[in-house]
């Protein structure tokens, strides 16, 4: 928006002398006035904490046991890269994201959406309802349900026993897989909804034309459906990944990152450093590194989105 918007001819015509130009100042001010509250609020409550956060990451601020914090430069970051527990957390975060978000939520969501397209209405409503329920549940409740499902005396082992299969203490032997599964269980609904909407947008004629040309189901999927919903895939991947990267409550409730750090993803590591070891500065630095991981993923997806179909 510019001050001269009501007089479009002014932009093209040579500028009249200053004395003849419409008064700019007050016009701009009055028109931007309604924006001021939101800008102030954003600066205050969004930018403020972020700037403060970045500052803390460069100090050795502690929650307790320290009289005065001091600026330490990049110490927190170099420390992180020499910290085995941090590298372990990065690795687990990547495993968790790839398994639960990229492979799990995304693929399963697409599969569900594709199947539901062909299903009869009652089946569609029922499936949709069940899947969405998992998504509607608060994170902590979902975490607790899955804790009860996976634990040694839990439902899963009861089922395995009944089938005469060897039972496992899932939360102990394969904690990262258990929490990944939990995340898939909880987050698939979102992908399913996105893909359902996208699939409905594909014009019937194109699919029909492909069918007439003799393309089978798999070829139609690969050559018609996927390219046409490519943008939705990009958006969905981005949202899913960012959400999964910051999952905390689910894992905290199920395993607390244990045993022995075997399900400790970056958000849990960050929490442990900042609030249990009282190293607020170090914890914040880790949080910024997590932000970096997130933006790397986002960059890849943004590229995917940019290319025209």
């Amino acid at each position: 928006m510019t001050a001269t918007a009501p007089h479009p001819e002014i932009g093209k015509a040579p500028r009249p002398p200053a004395s003849l130009r419409p008064r700019r100042g007050p016009g701009v001010l009055i028109r931007t006035l309604p924006l001021v509250p939101s800008v102030v609020l954003l600066l205050l409550f969004l930018a403020g904490p972020i700037v403060y956060c970045v500052w803390i990451a460069f100090t050795d601020l502690q929650l307790t046991g320290q009289a005065q914090e001091s600026f330490v430069g990049f110490d927190n970051f170099t420390r992180a890269f020499g910290d085995e527990a941090f590298l372990n957390a990065v690795w687990l975060t990547l495993v968790f994201t790839v398994v639960s978000s990229l492979i799990g939520q995304n693929t399963l969501g697409l599969a569900l959406a594709a199947l539901m397209q062909r299903a009869s209405k009652p089946v569609r409503t029922l499936t949709g309802g069940i899947v969405v329920t998992a998504w509607v549940l608060p994170e902590v409740v979902a975490g607790f349900l899955l804790y009860a499902f996976f634990r040694r005396e839990g439902t899963l082992n009861a089922i395995l026993d009944w089938l005469h299969l060897p039972s496992q203490n899932w939360l102990f032997t394969l904690p990262i897989l258990a929490v990944s599964f939990a995340n898939v269980w909880r987050g698939t609904a979102f992908s399913m909804l996105v893909y359902s909407a996208a699939l409905n947008e594909i014009p019937k004629e194109i699919t029909e034309a492909a069918e007439v040309d003799g393309a089978g189901g798999r070829r139609r999927m690969w050559h018609i459906t996927l390219p046409m919903i490519r943008r939705s895939i990009g958006t969905n991947l981005m949202l899913n990944t960012l959400q999964t990267l910051s999952v905390f409550g689910l894992i905290w409730v199920m395993t607390r990152g244990g045993p022995g750090g075997r399900s400790q993803t970056l958000p849990l590591f960050m929490y442990e450093q900042a609030f249990q070891n009282s190293l607020i500065g170090y914890g914040t630095a880790v949080a910024l590194l997590l932000l970096l991981v997130g933006s790397l993923f986002s960059l890849v997806y943004l590229r995917l989105l940019r290319t025209e179909v």
Partner: protein, 455 residues
């Protein structure tokens, strides 16, 4: 400048000012209300502290007309309680007037400047002279000032189930002389009484300080000569690197979990295992031996939610032995909690008045008994009504003679976490004892700015 031109900056200012003050106006301290923060049990049926404080609140409000007490319970496991409290103490808007502080953390919080020295108040309070010296020192900062009034102390020992022991062919007056005696009793239980957890020792980060103090230090302080502090060298003011004693103590923990003498590892690393030990395993006879604190019966007293008056008949008590039975033959650790006034408290004077009400002889005695605490007031300790109020009090009070205090210096909480990490490693079997001890030494250097000495 035209009048409208000045409007934007002006409006921005007004907006910023109003939003800022809107956050600031929140809690503001009322001069007639004293806010008291304490740790509420994560077990909903345990109301020991709630009941006691409600009673004191009534007394206080009656004695000080016009004044009000607002109880601000923090319901969290130990480690999260500390964090929440520290966050509240950072700002005058959230700082309560009185807080319940663990002696383990108090030095660290003093260094952070979260607490107010109480010397001026204590000098004018005659009852302070009734407190035993070690207790007075519990909340003393490195600057020599006192920052908290202890409400009791505790000791630690072995609790054992006489029923389980009878089935395993072990004596009802069991008193192990060495660590091996403890382990062989556990092995006997494992062999002869299936379905019972032979021995519980807390371990790993999920239980926090309980793993360090109830288990690790109870072992570590019984190694070497059983006398000098194995964690901190007072002369050089340096922390001691993981040596032979440290490895032996880790070895004990490793043995317990490797031979499956303890609870299932996933249960041991569950943050709520402490609640299960006292609420479930011991009362139901599912646990043979528990290395635990003197305060356990507080959960079994009338009004606690799961009364278990027969506990004194069902459970036996034994002192934790030193490693090879070296003098003095037994080990105990002592800690305890104190009442402290935050530096940013709005009503420190009124807060201290509340401490005084809590610490009259009658109220202090009531609390020691309700909390299964060990008295820190001499007059109460000598009172026969206290010594006989509960079975076990005499046993645990006698342990005070062979007890140790933690080197609760500012770095201690981080040292404690390093110990818990080493324990967790050997518990899950991820690391060997040697690796865990070396990991501890590295973490120790990190936590204490290299103030570490090899021994």
């Amino acid at each position: 400048m035209r009048p409208t031109a000045a409007l934007t900056p002006f409006l921005a200012l007004v907006l910023a000012a109003t939003t800022l003050t809107a956050c600031g106006g929140g809690s503001g301290s009322d001069p007639d209300t004293v806010k008291v923060s304490f740790k509420q049990s994560t077990d909903n049926s345990v109301k020991v502290m709630d009941t006691y404080l409600a009673d004191i609140k009534k007394q206080f409000e009656k004695a000080n007309p016009g004044k009000k007490v607002e109880l601000v319970p923090i319901k969290a496991p130990d480690s999260e309680y500390y964090t929440k409290l520290q966050q509240m103490l950072r700002s005058p808007k959230t700082a309560p007037d009185l807080v319940y502080e663990d002696t383990f953390l108090i030095n660290s919080d003093i260094t952070s400047g979260y607490l107010k020295p109480l010397d001026a108040y204590l000098a004018k309070w005659p009852d302070w002279n009734r407190f035993i010296d070690t207790a007075k020192a519990a909340a003393k900062g490195e600057d020599g000032k006192t920052y908290g009034v202890p409400d009791g102390t505790d000791t630690r020992g072995l609790w054992f189930d006489k029923g389980v022991f009878a089935k395993a062919g072990l004596p009802a007056d069991w008193q192990p002389k060495t660590w091996n005696d403890v382990l062989s009793a556990a092995r006997a239980i494992k062999k002869k009484v299936p379905g019972v957890i032979p021995l519980n020792v807390y371990t790993g980060k999920p239980v926090g300080e309980a793993a360090t103090m109830q288990t690790f230090e109870m072992l570590l302080y019984g190694t070497n000569d059983g006398g000098t502090d194995p964690l901190y060298d007072k002369n050089t003011k340096k922390w001691i690197a993981g040596g032979q004693g440290f490895e032996d103590a880790l070895g004990f923990v490793e043995t317990v979990y490797k031979e499956k003498l303890g609870p299932d590892v996933s249960d041991a690393l569950d943050p709520n295992v402490m609640t299960r030990v006292r609420g479930e395993w011991l009362p139901k006879g599912e646990l043979g031996i528990a290395l635990d604190g003197s305060w356990l019966p507080q959960d079994w007293l009338p009004g606690s939610g799961h009364e278990w008056p027969e506990w004194s008949k069902k459970l036996g008590l034994a002192a934790m032995p030193t490693q090879h039975g070296q003098a003095p033959g037994k080990v105990s650790m002592s800690g305890g909690w104190t009442w402290a006034v935050p530096a940013k408290a709005g009503n420190p004077d009124l807060a201290f008045e509340f401490i005084k009400t809590m610490q009259t002889k009658a109220n202090a005695q009531k609390w020691y008994v309700a909390n299964s605490g060990i008295a820190v007031r001499e007059d109460v300790a000598k009172d026969p009504a206290y010594a006989t109020a509960q079975p076990g009090i005499k046993f645990f009070t006698d342990l005070v003679r062979s007890t140790h205090y933690r080197p609760a210096y500012p770095a201690y909480p981080k040292v404690s976490t390093a110990i818990q990490e080493a324990m967790e490693g050997v518990t899950t079997g991820d690391t060997t004892v040697g690796e865990a001890a070396r990991g501890y030494t590295d973490a120790l250097k990190d936590a204490t700015d290299n103030q570490v000495v090899e021994r």
